[in-house]
């Protein structure tokens, strides 16, 4: 029987994998996938908490589950905005690699 801790380990692992993807990958689209993974790690932990910490009435904490639906929606909006910006960048610079982002510099 998996306990809350198991879910939190998985969610922590997902978050770390996502963060590593963001930090280490050079292709913006892959970085994007890492970002999605980080958001889904938060979703997983929210659902696990709501399942394992029932309220006084014995029902799961529905607030967190509603929050998860909102996060899924916001993540979709974020992807739409992000891809649009990537397309704009590609038109201006013909690249999707972060090391080519060198117009603005210290």
């Amino acid at each position: 029987m998996p306990t809350l801790a198991h879910y939190l380990y998985v969610s922590g692992a997902l978050f770390s994998i996502g963060l590593l993807g963001v930090l280490l990958r050079r292709n913006i689209l892959i970085i994007f996938m890492g970002l999605e993974l980080m958001l889904n790690a938060a979703n997983l932990s929210l659902v696990a908490f709501s399942r394992f910490h029932p309220g006084l009435d014995g029902l799961p904490g529905y607030n967190a589950q509603v929050l998860v639906f909102f996060i899924i929606t916001v993540a979709a909006a974020e992807v739409a905005v992000g891809l649009a910006i990537i397309v704009a960048l590609f038109r201006a610079k013909q690249t999707v690699h972060v090391e080519d982002l060198d117009t603005l510099k210290f």
């Binding site: 939190l8 996502g18 980080m38 904490g61 960048l89």
Partner: protein, 487 residues
């Protein structure tokens, strides 16, 4: 129910205005004057709704919470948004102008919702509603490489910060079992390791919003590359909203784990973390600004430094210093918006925002140069301008309990450094002659607004109580933020 409708009327008016503006944009895309006028009109209606029908109360279990303090901040955010709308007419590309203004309005709605909520769910949603339009606005000048790059950098770093924030909020929810800040505040005793992780991740997420170390890297690039009106809103409104909601989360929800950041009196909590972030930001911002040749970039590093000053006040976390933080962030936002206004006009005249582009400004438009003087001197914190009183209150209240001497000494020393780069800009604007003759472009609305902001900074310097009063007087701050802390 009707009360809820009245409470959310300003935001509703803004959304309706945004839809109307989009409609005008489709039917008459070239009528830029009409589009701006419609946007401003909608904003004024929203301001009137806010002022004429004040509703206080707690709606939908803390999702929407209105009190005088929240309404004051909503008004400030609305004002800052409308300032950017006026500047947008000068600095946004002519194509898709209506869409740009609609996005500005949506972002303003997000900021205003953020100022009036006490629930983690709503905080996350409002933050995203603030940020997503700003990402698009930063990338709006599509033909410019710098703008696309600024938009992407803002988006990537912002999304990572949002993921940090969200994961932190989910852990805080897990420990407290509720998303409501007042329920979270009932937790006490030794903090759970999960809660510590949650607080740390939340702080990291907010570091992005107010542009402090370690999430400060985006600021210089975005301020430089984004259309200047968008940068003005990012620098002013977005920062005010971020600081206000961070103050609320930390004092209202997490007041039990403040800790102390005093030299030799260390106690674990979020204050020591903030102190480290503040110290790093103050040093990095002020030192890096010394070598900048682009005024927008310089303002970005100065924004990082000012974010550090604000965090010093948050570290102290008592009633006077929180009042000082809120006072300072409003003053800072007004001043920065004005400085960006000058940049908008100069950019339009000379085609750039480098130091050389400011040369001869004192000759060609003395009023503008005088306004720039007021803004930069206020940012540097020289009396009798508002920035001086902001810093004065901030530092004296942080010193009052004698704990944060090391931070204040560092900040004051670094503030002296900041005087150098502000004066460099002023030297270029006031002393050096113009390299070539330039014809001043008429930008009457923006110019009028810049003068108005300069007068506001001057007036708040001469009579700071006009703003300190509503922030600290009566029941406002004391009841709403501090009482929870003292319990």
């Amino acid at each position: 129910m009707t009360n809820l409708l009245i409470a959310l009327a300003p935001e509703a008016f803004l959304v309706i205005t945004a839809l109307v503006v989009l409609g005008i944009g489709v039917s008459a895309p070239k009528a830029r004057g009409a589009i701006t006028a419609a946007t401003l009109l909608g904003g004024l209606v929203a301001a009137a709704a806010l002022l004429l029908h004040p509703v206080d109360g707690n709606f939908l279990h803390g999702m929407v919470v209105l009190n005088p303090l929240a309404r004051l901040f909503k008004l400030v955010l609305l004002g800052l948004g409308l300032v950017s709308v006026v500047f947008a007419a000068e600095s946004f590309p002519k194509l898709h102008f209506a869409e740009a203004l609609a996005l500005l309005l949506f972002s303003m709605v997000g900021m205003m919702l953020l100022a009036g909520t006490e629930d983690l769910l709503m905080i996350f949603l409002a933050l995203e509603l603030t940020s997503l339009p700003l990402y698009i606005l930063a990338a709006f000048a599509k033909e410019s490489r710098a703008s696309a790059e600024a938009g992407l950098k803002y988006f990537l770093i912002g999304s990572v910060a949002a993921a940090f924030l969200l994961y932190g909020l989910s852990l805080i929810y897990g420990v407290a079992g509720s998303t409501n800040l007042r329920v979270i505040a009932k937790l006490s005793g030794d903090p759970d390791p999960l809660l510590i992780a949650g607080i740390a991740l939340t702080l990291l997420g907010f570091a992005f919003k107010i542009a402090v170390v370690p999430f400060q890297l985006w600021a210089p690039d975005v301020y430089e590359g984004a259309p200047t009106a968008a940068a003005a809103l990012i620098a002013s409104g977005s920062k005010v909203a971020g600081v206000f909601i961070l103050t609320k989360i930390l004092t209202l929800g997490l007041g039990h784990w403040t800790g102390t950041a005093g030299w030799g009196q260390f106690a674990p909590g979020w204050a020591p973390v903030l102190a480290l972030m503040a110290a790093a930001s103050v040093v990095l911002g002020n030192v890096a600004a010394l070598v900048q040749s682009n005024v927008k970039r310089l303002l970005a590093y100065s924004a990082i430094a000012h974010g550090g000053y604000l965090l010093i006040g948050l570290c102290a976390a008592d009633a006077p210093s929180l009042t000082a933080v809120l006072f300072y962030v409003i003053i800072y936002a007004l001043t920065t918006a004005g400085a960006f206004g000058v940049v908008v006009i100069v950019e339009k005249q000379r085609g750039g925002s480098h130091l050389e582009d400011f040369e001869g400004l004192g000759k060609s438009s003395p009023v503008l140069a005088l306004c720039l003087l007021v803004f930069l001197i206020s940012l540097a914190g020289i009396p009798p301008l508002a920035g001086f009183f902001g810093k004065f209150y901030l530092f004296t209240s942080a010193l009052a309990n004698g704990r944060h001497l090391w931070l204040v000494i560092l900040a004051v020393a670094m503030n002296a450094v900041s005087l150098y780069y502000y004066l460099i800009v002023l030297k270029h604007a006031l002393v050096l002659p113009a390299p070539k003759e330039t014809v001043p472009t008429a930008a009457p609305a923006s110019k009028f607004l810049v003068v108005l902001l300069a007068l506001a900074v001057l007036a708040l310097g001469l009579a700071p109580n006009a703003l300190i009063g509503p922030l600290s007087n009566g029941q406002t701050v004391k009841n709403i933020i501090i009482n929870t802390l003292q319990k």
